[in-house]
Amino acid sequence: MISLAIPTGALLAGSLELLGRSAVVTLGPEEIGRQLLVERGGIRVILVRPSDVPAYVDHGAADLGIVGKDSLVEFPGSRYELVDLGFGACTMVVATPERSPLGGPSTWPPLLRVATKYPHATATYMRSLGQTAEIVRLHGSVELAPLVGLVDAIVDLSATGTTLRENRLRVVAEVFTSTARLIANQAALKRRSPELQALVARVRAPRA
């Protein structure tokens, strides 16, 4: 039995479509959404929050996982990142209010206040620029934070930019781009190599 963790949210549809197309397992979003854990044809599929997929894989509760690159950057660990699955493309961006004088990194004040759901990725990025930053960790509606004066800027994922525009924010810097990835537990990849490699090959095949 191979277990595979897949994320709720934006990557769920793409994950299920990929699993069906590569004949790993056919699952409807309603079925997995209702049961959270489905075993079928030698595969156990577990549905968890996107940010929890790395934990399930790192600890070996899942052999494989599908997860956005953003979560992998945010939660460093010892898993193998095997395949870029191509779907779920989005960009981690720095955005400021349209009316703010702040533009690119050169215009930022000595201490930048930033709100984000990704404090680790944000800290790494700010450090790479040599920018001192006060990072405020929020759990949702990050777009609101600069509008009410909590912070100067936000670091968040953006797929189309619609949410940012609706909240009158503009992108002033790109941190990295992200797509869905197939990851594997380090021990599982070694101990159950033939099974996992066969599955990885199937997932890889239809894209090539």
Binding site: A55, E81, L82, V83, K190
Partner: protein, 401 residues
């Protein structure tokens, strides 16, 4: 846990590895000489009264290396040492792992070559057996195999650094991207791409040697072939797999490396390999290899297994009544002299009470001493016999353990 630890150390000692005790607190400067940047960051540091910086050890190979280059300087190489102790790391991360964990390890310093590599791998396998682990697997790789491939690539140095980083981070997507940007399409290039799948038995070595064109990788394959054949000769080939992708910690390891996985654990329980550069940092350059057993992970694995190791049982429970105390104490000492485990009671008991006490202790023999020359001896599930204390020792030491 304690029993497992003793079993492992006994195995190591029986291979001629001397047990050493190294300090838990070291001068930071000493530890820094042997550790990479990441490891240094994770040390717990503090200052003493003079303001000199100290740290708690985060692993124990570096302290052992210092011992060999320092106190044991006059001892001829090779030296075989083993150790057991706590290590402390400040793991700032999402998964708050335990800060303190227990490591047990063996180091073979001063011996180059495949025979020494095979020795520590064989010892690691025997240790896993001694710990009572079932269904484990040891993966053996070689740092030079990958280093040779990398050196042979006609790409800028920065690209090589990127490749190394991607491999160390197990990021195969990034690796693919980097390699796609280089215009090379050689057999060696293909090897790099197939990196995590290069696992198996001796056939993997054959397949790979058909593809490599550089001296270093070819020599690495030859090393691995020798190690594998030595292990095969000892009947250990079945526990060992070749994994050419098992390179890691490029700044530290220099040759054959290995990891053991057991149970359903998501992390290796044993990690080891050749580190020929470490000792030179302490002024006594010497080739070296060794491994560490993560005892907490061994414990976790054993917990789930049905066959748990029982403590070696108690040989004798010595009870006494009336005037028997002095004689009972002497009897206890004599039994221990013969290598038996004996408990002497701390209060007088009647024979009936002594039987219940002995059964509670799980002792193999009950001896009830009632006077200077009077005792009764009863083996578990045997009948009671009256005889003088001296004769009890003779009977028990004579094989009736």
């Amino acid at each position: 846990m304690r029993a497992t630890q003793e079993a492992l150390l006994a195995e190591m000692r029986s291979w001629g590895y001397r047990y050493v005790v190294t300090p838990t607190v070291e001068s930071l400067a000493v530890l820094e000489r042997g550790l990479g940047v990441q490891q240094r960051r994770r040390l717990f540091k503090f200052a003493d009264g003079d303001g000199s910086l100290l740290a708690l050890v985060g692993e124990r190979t570096v302290p052992v290396a210092r011992l060999i280059a320092g106190k044991l300087r006059s001892q001829p190489l090779p030296i075989r040492l083993c150790y057991s102790g706590s290590v402390l790391v400040n793991e700032a991360g999402r998964f708050s792992r335990r800060r303190e964990s227990h490591q047990l390890g063996a180091e073979l310093v001063g011996a180059p070559g495949a025979v020494a590599d095979a020795e520590v791998i064989a010892l690691a396998v025997r240790c896993l057996d001694a710990a009572g682990l079932r269904d484990y697997q040891v993966d053996v790789g070689h740092q030079e195999f990958f280093a040779g491939l990398l050196a042979g690539l006609a790409v800028p140095t920065q690209t090589k650094v990127d490749i190394q980083e991607a491999l160390a981070g197990r990021d195969l997507v990034r690796l693919e991207t980097i390699l796609a940007d280089t215009s090379l399409r050689t057999a060696e290039h293909e090897l790099l791409l197939r990196f995590p799948a290069l696992r198996g038995g001796a056939e993997i070595l054959e397949a790979a040697s058909g593809l490599v064109q550089n001296e270093r990788s070819a020599r690495a394959l030859e090393d691995l072939r020798r190690v594998l054949s030595i292990l095969d000769g000892q009947g250990l080939g079945g526990s060992v797999q070749i994994d050419l992708g098992a390179s890691r910690d490029f700044d530290y390891y220099t040759g054959v490396v290995f990891e053991a996985y057991g149970g359903d654990l998501g992390r290796p329980v044993v990690q080891g390999g050749r580190y020929d550069h470490l000792l030179s940092g302490f002024g006594r350059p010497a080739p070296a290899t060794g491994f560490v057993v993560h005892m907490d992970l061994v414990g976790e694995t054993l917990q789930g297994s049905p066959a748990r190791r029982a403590l070696p049982s108690l040989s004798a429970a010595v009870a006494w009544s009336a005037d028997g105390l002095e004689s009972a104490l002497r009897l206890g000492s004599s039994l221990r002299l013969f290598g038996m485990r004996a408990v002497v009671d701390t209060q007088p008991r009647s024979l009936g009470a002594a039987r219940r006490w002995s059964a509670g202790l799980g002792a193999n023999h009950l001896i009830h001493v009632t006077g200077a020359a009077e005792a009764a001896w009863q083996p578990r599930a045997g009948r009671l016999r009256k005889l003088p204390p001296e004769q009890v020792v003779g009977r028990l030491a004579g094989g009736a353990r």
